[in-house]
């Protein structure tokens, strides 16, 4: 049984050829910029650029189609919750009120609320193409090397590398343990009572955790025997030199950030107000 997850595939596109460091910086700076700005124009521009980059990368749609479903559900629930809890948030933020339709009780749909919730959706959507690109086009081994290059200690980079390396193994372990538990009638689904479910969860978790602790002991002993951590620096098998493409990508990124911030704060507020 294989569960769908986002994994790297080796293709040859301009995005794949970029250095891991470039992609990491791009993703982080892009996300932070999207978090700070609430300017609709910036967000729309960034979304279009993001989708363009996704197209250039030639990553097959079916590789990430399944996450779009999760994202859509989360999106929808979040938007509904925002409206239920605070139908007047938009009016408060933008300082005006244009009623659209009165629903019931304190729930009146206003243009401001619609616009505010549209911005939330946009803010969320802007990061998706970049996150997908980063995950689908970066070789995990190169990613660890990149983390080290941008200033994280190589030990931390190694932790991340180990996490990525052992993710499939641990997933396999989890399924094996959970199936053999189910074969013995240990069930974690809705069919059991809650107290029973908790107890059953423990009987699946204990073997998983004990084998993992063993694994940690074994791997750390092996690494220690090879002298890991003795020196302050180390070299990486998968590092690549920076090319002109990388500098171009980073220049584009800086241009986006500068444009986005100057546009966002040109009127002294994070929010782009179309109502005044």
């Amino acid at each position: 049984m294989s569960t769908k997850m986002l994994t790297y595939t080796n293709l040859d596109s301009p995005i794949h050829r970029l250095n891991g460091v470039t992609k990491l910086i791009f993703f982080v700076v892009w996300s932070v910029t999207a978090m700070i700005t609430y300017d609709t124009r910036c967000l729309l521009g960034m979304l279009i650029l993001g989708l363009l980059a996704l197209k250039i990368s030639r990553v097959a749609f079916r590789q990430y189609a399944f996450v779009l479903g999760f994202i859509a559900v989360f999106f929808l629930l979040n938007e509904i919750a925002v409206f239920l809890f605070s139908p007047m948030q938009g009016t408060e933020l933008y300082g005006t009120r244009h009623d659209l339709v009165h629903l019931a009780g304190r729930y009146t749909l206003t243009w401001e609320q619609l616009f505010y919730q549209f911005n939330i959706a946009l803010k969320y959507a802007v990061v998706i193409p970049m996150a997908l690109l980063f995950l689908l086009t970066t070789d995990p081994s190169e990613f660890a090397a990149s983390l080290n290059r941008v200033g994280a200690s190589y030990k931390l980079a190694y932790s991340v590398s180990i996490a990525l390396r052992y993710l499939p193994d641990i997933q396999q372990d989890y399924h094996n343990i959970s199936f053999s538990a189910q074969a013995r009638g240990i069930d974690m689904s809705r069919k059991e009572k809650l107290s029973r479910r908790l107890k059953n969860a423990v009987s699946i978790l204990i073997p998983l955790i004990l084998t993992s602790v063993d694994r940690i002991d074994r791997i750390s002993a092996a690494m220690e025997l090879r002298g890991f951590g003795r020196k302050g620096k180390r070299t990486w098998y998968k590092t690549r030199p920076f090319t002109g493409m990388d500098y171009t990508a980073l220049a584009i990124l800086s241009a986006i950030v500068v444009a986005s911030f100057s546009l966002t704060f040109s009127d002294g507020s994070r929010f782009y107000n179309i109502f005044q």
């Binding site: 986002l6 609430y38 239920l84 809890f85 908790l198 978790l205 004990l210 951590g229």
Partner: protein
């Protein structure tokens, strides 16, 4: 084990494996609680146990890396305010519960109380304060919505760690040999 500069090799490996476990349990290990949209996240019991076993630094990084990985590879996008909150849980729990000598098989009633005080403080700080405040700062979401969400998630996590976390820690401590458990035969 010889201590090298900075992180020990064991902590580094524990962060890696712990993050992978966090991601897998976060994806597959949720139990429906019966209340809509509230799941028992067994992964927080794991985080609590690993913070207890490997210390605050490991707890912080397992929370941060594990949660980012889980969100990124299974759901396509990290929700950063909650990622940071997970890190805080691991950090605070590791700081307070660090003194319990579980490696020596000691997890009696005092250990259990200390562990649970630590996890309540850590979860309360993370889900009642940090996560909602960051949601407001980053995403400008309505205050009452994010505080309600934080409250529900926080209580669910506290209960999860209290039940599953304690059981796991107790089971783990039984696999360790107690210090001074050998007796001289007459």
């Amino acid at each position: 084990m010889a201590k090298s500069k900075g992180l020990s090799v064991k902590t580094i490996v524990a962060i890696g494996i712990g993050s992978a476990l966090f991601a897998i349990l976060g994806r597959f290990g949720s139990i429906p609680s019966g209340i809509p949209n509230t799941n028992i996240e067994t992964t927080y019991a794991l985080l609590a146990l690993f913070a207890l076993l490997y210390g605050p630094y490991a707890g912080l990084l397992i929370g941060l890396i594990g949660h980012t990985l889980k969100d990124a590879i299974f759901y396509g996008q990290p929700w950063f305010s909650w990622v940071i909150a997970s890190g805080i849980v691991g950090l605070v729990l590791g700081i307070i519960a660090g003194k319990i000598r579980i490696h020596d098989g000691e997890f009696g009633s005092r250990g259990i109380i200390r562990f649970n005080v630590a996890q309540v403080v850590a979860n309360a700080l993370a889900w009642f304060v940090v996560a909602p405040v960051l949601d407001i700062l980053i995403y400008a979401e309505p205050a009452n919505k994010v505080f309600t969400q934080g409250l529900v998630a926080g209580i669910a996590n506290i209960v999860t760690v209290a039940v599953i976390g304690t059981l796991l820690a107790a089971a783990y401590s039984k696999t360790r040999t107690k210090q001074g458990s050998l007796t001289r035969e007459a």
